[in-house]
């Protein structure tokens, strides 16, 4: 593998496919579960491969995905606390 970015995309895609297929086979119907697992796959593959890019677009993407993940978790917590 010549590029760390390519390796990162490969790892991320594989993890994403595995989690999505597993969720669909488990007959999961909640959209946010698919999205949050996707975001987790992104951060795990980012931490493992370290594509070592500090470009502004990656910083914005990281922040946006983190915000989305926090929003999903907050919504779920809110649902538990105030059903």
């Amino acid at each position: 593998m010549r590029s760390r970015v390519s390796l990162f995309i490969l790892v991320y895609t594989l993890m994403n496919v595995l989690s999505t297929v597993a969720l669909y086979l488990l007959k999961e119907q909640r959209v946010d579960v698919y999205v949050s697992l996707n975001i987790l796959s992104y951060y795990v593959s980012y931490a493992v491969v370290r594509p070592s890019t500090l470009s502004s677009i990656v910083r914005v993407l990281n922040a946006a995905l983190f915000a989305l993940f926090i929003a999903i978790v907050a919504y779920r917590v809110y649902e538990v606390l105030a059903p």
């Binding site: 970015v5 991320y12 990656v58 993407l61």
Partner: protein, 236 residues
Amino acid sequence: MNTSLLFLGINIVVISILLSLYGFLAGDSGLVGIAASLGLAGGVIVAYSRVPQDPATASLLSYSRTLVNAVSSALEDLDLLESAICIAKRGAELLLVYSKAPCPAKVDPGLGFAGGSPYLAIPIELPSAGGGAEALSSSTAGEPLERVLRSLLVEEFALCRGVRVDVEGESYRVYITGLAEFLKDFTRYPVDPYTVLVLSTLAQATPAECVRVVQRSYVPEGLLLIARVERSCGVG
């Protein structure tokens, strides 16, 4: 930019939109979830298609090595391998000067003689980062200079993990830690990116005419650079 990745990402996003429409129409939330996940993956791939790729870094490194070898050969021929390094300001222009004399005052870009000894002067253009290196007074320069250097070396170029600046009068002690693996080789050469960037930032951030390297020492955890700013250059 990697156009193959860009097209792949856009195609994935389009497929995810179609799949989500089908999921909505069929009333299958699972399919909509898969489509959302696919769309996110497409977005990530589009974002990463705009990141500079490693092969570009490799070619840039090879190019830099060629240039550094050429400059090192020129310095060796001039017997300037153990020379003093300084930055001299000539108007808005910055010149990196290698000379046996402490810091010649009147230098022109290229090879020349000043004060009876040869010098090599390389014009430098400092990349702007973190809003640029604004002019600072020497008494308060430590913290803003650290911020500017961190913005340039850590956030913009990812050349190291940390930068710390201590100011003692006209002397600046710059500690650079966690040097990038692919640039460690350059620290063996007279022209290394860390020294060049730190000196040129100092020259631009302070009103001094001359910035001289007092000490440059490499330790396993990084680089210690002690530089002294002077109102005027030494030898005319």
